[in-house]
C-alpha cells in the first residue's frame, strides 16, 4: 500500500529501518549491525538495556496483578510509586481528628496501610505493597484519584 514498502529493498529505505528498530526493541537488543560488501546498516541503543533500567534495584515488576504499587523510572532510579488501585477520594487519615497513616520520612512495609480511598461510600484501606521510605505525597485529603494515579513516592 505505502511507498515505504516499495523502497524497502534499499539500504536507506525508511520502512526497512523501522522494521529493524522494531525488532531491536522487541528482542530488547542493544545493537544491530548488518554488512554486505559496501552496504552497512548499524543501529545502536543506550548502554543500559531499556526495560531493565530499574530492575537492578530489585523492584516489584509492573505486571503485578494489584495496581497498588507499580514502578516507574523518573528523575532517580530508586524511586517507586504507590498508585491508587481504584477510582475514589483520597484520605490520608482514618478519621478527620486522627493523624495521617504515614508522612514523609516514614518507612513502610508492604502491608503498611498508607491511606484510604473512598469509593461508593466504602472506605478502602490501601497497603503500601512494597517496602521503602516515603519521600513525597502527591495528593491531599479529598482529592479525586483514579486507577494508577501516583499517591506516594518511595525511596527503596
Amino acid at each position: 500500500m505505502s511507498n515505504e514498502q516499495d523502497e524497502s529493498g534499499e539500504v536507506f529505505g525508511i520502512a526497512r529501518i523501522r522494521k529493524l528498530m522494531e525488532l531491536l526493541r522487541e528482542f530488547d537488543l542493544n545493537e544491530i549491525d548488518l554488512q554486505d560488501a559496501a552496504q552497512r546498516i548499524r543501529l545502536k541503543r543506550g548502554g543500559i538495556p531499556m526495560v531493565s533500567a530499574m530492575s537492578a534495584t530489585g523492584m516489584i515488576p509492573a505486571s503485578s496483578a494489584a495496581a497498588t504499587s507499580t514502578t516507574k523510572s523518573e528523575d532517580d532510579k530508586n524511586a517507586v510509586f504507590i498508585k491508587s488501585p481504584m477510582v475514589g477520594s483520597f484520605y490520608s487519615r482514618p478519621k478527620p481528628d486522627q493523624p495521617s497513616f504515614v508522612k514523609v520520612g516514614d518507612v513502610v512495609a508492604p502491608e503498611t496501610v498508607v491511606c484510604i480511598v473512598e469509593a461508593m461510600k466504602m472506605f478502602n484501606e490501601i497497603p503500601a505493597g512494597i517496602s521503602g521510605k516515603i519521600v513525597e505525597v502527591y495528593v491531599k485529603d479529598g482529592d479525586a484519584v483514579d486507577v494508577n494515579k501516583p499517591l506516594f513516592k518511595l525511596a527503596v
Binding site: M86, V87, M120, A144, D146, V147, N148
Partner: protein
Amino acid sequence: MYNRILIANRGEIALRIIRACREMGIETVAIYSEGDRGSKYLEFADETFCVGGPKSADSYLRIDQIISAAEVGNVEAVHPGYGFLSENAHFNEVCRDCNIDFIGPTPQAMLMLGDKNTARALARKAKVPVVPGSDGLIEDEASALRVAHEIGFPVLVKATAGGGGRGMRVAANDLSLKTALQQAAAEAQAAFGNAGVYIEKFVEHPRHVEVQMMADHHGNIVHLFERDCSTQRRHQKLIEESPSPSIPKSVRKSLCEAAVRLIQMANYTNAGTVEFIVDRDNNFYFIEVNARIQVEHPVTEMVTGIDLIQQQIRIAAGEKLPFRQKDIECKGFAIECRINAEDPTKGFQPSPGRIESIFVPGGLGVRFDSHVHAGYTVPPHYDSMIGKLIVHQPTRNGAIRCMLRALSELKISGIKTTADFHRKVLSHVDFAEGRIDTGWVERNLMGKN
C-alpha cells in the same frame, strides 16, 4: 438541564457525546482504560478518570469504578453510549440508586425488551408482526418439531438472551433441527448464561430495516424514519442508510407506525431502535429492540437534522420533545460506512497498530466521526471500528457517488481498513438498485454461496 455528565464509553462514541455536551454547555467527565490512556479525544473532556486495565472487563465494564468516577466526578447523569454497559439493566439501576440519571430507558423497559421472547410477546400484543414461531421457549425436542412442521422449514433456532448471531442456528429438516437445538442451547448457555431458545420461521434473503424511535417522559413518542442496514457480513453491519432504498412508501409508513405502537406498549423512553426484517414480498417482521443509541445513528441525524445525542440528554433531564411527528422531515439520502481496522484480504482480521498518516475527507455533505488521527495507535483490545464515514446528498445516486469519492480520499497508512471494501459494495449495481439483503456480502464478495 445537567451541568455535568459522565461518559461510560470510549473512542468515537465517547467523542460524539463529548461534542454534544460541549455544544449544550454541559461539562463532561470521561473514563478511560490504560489501553486508551493519552488518547487525544480525552483532552476534550473536562475531567478524566482511569478506571482500570486495557481489557474491557477490567475497565469499561467495571461498574464499581465507573460509579466511583461518577460520584467523585460529581456528575448528574451517565451516558453509556453503545456496547459495553449500554444495555446492562443492572448498571442502569445502580446509577439510579446512586441518584445519577442513566441516559437511556428505564431498567424495567430495558429488561423487558432485552429478553427477546418477552419482547416478541409484547410485539404481538401491540399488533406488530413477528416472524411465525414457537411463541415462547422451546421445552423439548418434540414441541420444537411440532412447531417447525406448523410454520414450515427452514426454521431458525435462536437464544432468548442472544445477540450478534451467537446462539443462532438454521435447520432445514427434522434431523438438523435436533442438532441445532442442542448447539444453540449450549452456545447460549456459554455466552449468556441462559440456555433458553425459541424457534422462528427462517426468512430467506431478508433485508434489515430498523426504525429510530424517541420518546420523552411526558408521553410523546416519535419515529425518525427508518435505516436500512442490510449490508452485513456475518451479522455485523457494514453500511447503513436512510431512507431505505428498497421498501415502498406504504410499507415504510406501516413499519414506522408499528414501531411507535411497540414503544408505546413498552412504556419505553429515550432513544431506541426497533429492528425488523423484511422479506422479498415486503412483509416485515419485528426482530428486537435496541435499547440504546446505535452506531449508525448519524444517518438519521443527517436526513432529519436532529442531534440524537442532544435529544437523549434532554429527554433524560426531563425535557419534552421539542417536535411532534409532523415536524420531522426526512430530507435527502444519507449513507454511513463503518471504517474498521481490519484487513478484508485476510478474512477481515483485526489490524490494530499505529496510524502513520491519514487524510480526512471533507467537502459538502461529508461527515467523518472518528477519534483517530495521524500518530494514533489503534489498541487491540476493543472493537475494530475506528470511524464512521457519513454522507448526505439530495439524491441517493448522489450520495453513493459522494461516498465513493470520500472513501477514495480516506487514505490511511500503517493499518489496514475496510475503506476499499466499501468501495466495492457501493460500486455494485445491486447496491445502486437497492437489491442488498443481509446475505448479499457473503454471497457476492466473500467467494462463498
